[in-house]
Amino acid sequence: MSNSVIEVPPKGGFSFDLCKRNEMLAKKGVNPPSFRKTGTTIVGLVFQDGVILGADTRATEGPIVCDKNCEKIHYMAPNIYCCGAGTAADTEAVTDMVSSQLQLHRYHTGRESRVVTALTLLKRHLFNYQGYVSAALVLGGVDVTGPHLHTIYPHGSTDTLPFATMGSGSLAAMAVFESKYKEGLTRNEGIELVTEAICSGIFNDLGSGSNVDVCVITKGGKEYLRNHLQPNPRTYTNSKGYSFPKKTEVLLTKIIPLKEKVEIIEGGDAMEE
């Protein structure tokens, strides 16, 4: 028997060969281009009538803020929403895909989608890609079995919790939740607590910033409060506008149009083919 490696054709499933190549290259100092990460503080909590999700709105590309007001709370079903942290493309693609699958499922069963269905579809997908799909999600919704809140990690593990935070600002937000959360919060108390937690992330974490988005989901429906709080408005625009003094004297003005005006003559002969 020879000692050489026999090339076996792949039997199916995702091939991780290129991932190994990338890791080897990174060790040698060749780094892949950095992805647009959401940085992020995302939170969720269960209150007496349902679930409240909250997120900041800053998207970062390394040290640069590439989107000052992005949307991190994604639609999954009329009664289920999902906040996403990690690589922005991954969170958007994976929530879009599962939202599509849930819609088909609703047509086939004729019923409202359940949060555990969305949870299982997401975690199966993420596990299949062994953590390379870098999406950390906070999934919340209200279905026939009641309100549910889950966190999903990029490798595919999940938690079911009464309050949860994810992202680079998760520790700042969790500190607020741990000290102030209690069961049976009312809607306004819940929104205030979520806003406080996100603000804690916005002001204490570099990867999070700009505005606060909130989404309230109850049995009756959902309320998506986009930019519920805007604690970082632009304050440096000069209301008088800018005017720069002219430095060069104008001696002569001559305008020559580059395109001749085309005149349309009616009633000519048609072109021969």
Partner: protein
Amino acid sequence: MGDSQYSFSLTTFSPSGKLVQIEHALTAVGSGQTSLGIKAANGVVIATEKKLPSILVDETSVQKIQCLTPNIGVVYSGMGPDFRVLVRKSRKQAEQYHRLYKEPIPVTQLVRETAAVMQEFTQSGGVRPFGVSLLVAGYDDNGPQLYQVDPSGSYFSWKASAMGKNVSNAKTFLEKRYTDDMELDDAVHTAILTLKEGFEGQISGKNIEIGIIGADKKFRVLTPAEVDDYLAEVE
């Protein structure tokens, strides 16, 4: 008649230029329960008989009119199981279109893709054509639309059409009654009268099914109670 020698193989033309299997599929459709559709000025209505094989069948579990997208619905004449397969495929295609273009699929596109599926099954080995004709009703940016798709994969846009048993009587009736400026409610009444023409037995909300889509672009199947209300108005 050289045709009969070519009737067993789907993928062989007969000397007269026909695919005899498709003719047989159309016969299967022609012996199915009557269904019809009418395009009104502000919406579309589709309706079908729902004759169950026995009084013991739970009629609430049978739904012949199905929703493909929030603004497109479909009804059939012919074989129920074939219909289920087509509905499943069409729903998936509509959803894939939406994922790719973030736009609700236009009615013509969905009809074209469904027809393409039906045509595939007339040109492949080892399969048979679908034994259903579909009536697709939808309302999109181009207004209300009604399409009929046949087992061969050909589709036509209709102002009003009928399929199944009794098709000739139903079409004659529709030709007489159809007007271009009909409102949706008038169309529902006309649809009920057309179904009544060839109906054996007592017509009620439990043995016909009606689906409508109006200017709100939301397709819905009427409940038996609503159908009974329309029936009462017609009498």
